[in-house]
């Protein structure tokens, strides 16, 4: 299997979970799924490493409209102002942990058993460097309440 094929498998396994999450759990309508060129928007970004004998990094970005929608779905009770900033920061980490964690079950056995890192913020130069040095593919999933973009990079 080529490295490109590995990236495609991981990309589509994660896509399956993101669609399930947005459609079945968050009750959103998926309007469009398209390839995305260029780098991931900086908005509400989180990354996670998937490590076995090979290594991938997955990164997500959630646009403001979708972020607000998901946040309200998760936090049905009033969020105190003092907590809001921390929760805003942690929320994309939780989302990537859920969708990538669940996607692992669709990876082929030959990729081995994966460990997930703790979610982290990959921004600015570090992110650009990762894109430059690795095979990366991105997808944009548009819903009736904004868009979810993600990238998978093979190291």
């Amino acid at each position: 299997m080529t490295n490109n094929e590995y990236v495609n498998i991981v990309l589509h396994s994660i896509k399956h979970e993101i669609i399930g999450f947005l459609q079945n759990d968050m009750l959103l309508t998926i309007q469009n799924i398209s390839d995305m060129e260029g780098s991931l928007p900086e908005t509400n970004r989180a990354s996670i490493e998937l490590n076995s004998h090979i290594k991938f990094t997955a990164s997500i970005s959630i646009d403001e409209e979708l972020f607000d929608f998901l946040f309200k779905k998760f936090f049905t009770q009033k969020v105190e102002d003092s907590e809001k900033e921390e929760l805003d920061e942690l929320f994309p980490d939780e989302i990537i942990n859920i969708v990538v964690g669940l996607a692992i079950r669709y990876f082929p056995r030959e990729l081995g058993d994966f460990d997930l890192s703790i979610p982290f913020k990959l921004t600015g130069e570090k992110y650009q460097e990762m894109l430059k040095n690795n095979i990366s593919k991105s997808l944009k999933i548009s819903t009736n309440h904004g868009a979810f973009v993600y990238t998978v990079s093979y190291h």
């Binding site: 999450f21 929760l87 942990n97 859920i98 964690g101 996607a103 079950r105 703790i118």
Partner: protein, 124 residues
């Protein structure tokens, strides 16, 4: 109403799970951020039910489950996971977990799992 101990390293999950359980009419008597804290809080509060995250730093949910079950055989613990790995879930069930929930957690999933442990608390 059940007295419930919520165990998860994620602040977001602790908050959302607490809100959902309270909306269902239960009382979250304590929240723990790690397996070690869960063991301590279990012996203090002896809750009716524990929701236990499987993957946590320091001491994970499976080790905490094992330790609690060793000391309190009747403990009722349901596992919460965002990992699609059946192995971990099966291991938890073999140690004595009473069920499991895949994140994201919804009231429907909670109700279905809790009502298997406590059929009298099924929401209509």
């Amino acid at each position: 109403m059940l007295n419930i101990l919520v165990v998860d390293d994620s602040l977001i999950i602790r908050k959302t799970l607490t809100a959902q359980l309270e909306k269902m009419g239960h009382k979250v008597i304590a929240q723990a951020k790690s397996g070690a804290e869960a063991i301590e809080l279990y012996s203090t509060h002896q809750p009716d039910l524990v929701t236990m995250d499987i993957s946590m730093p320091e001491m994970d949910g499976i080790v905490a489950l094992q330790k609690i079950k060793t000391e309190y055989d009747a403990a009722k613990i349901i596992m919460v996971t965002s990992r699609g790995e059946e192995k971990l879930v099966m291991e938890s069930l073999s140690i004595g977990a009473r069920g499991y929930i895949l994140k994201p957690i919804t009231i429907e999933k909670l109700d279905a799992t809790i009502s298997k442990v406590y059929p009298e608390y099924k929401n209509d």
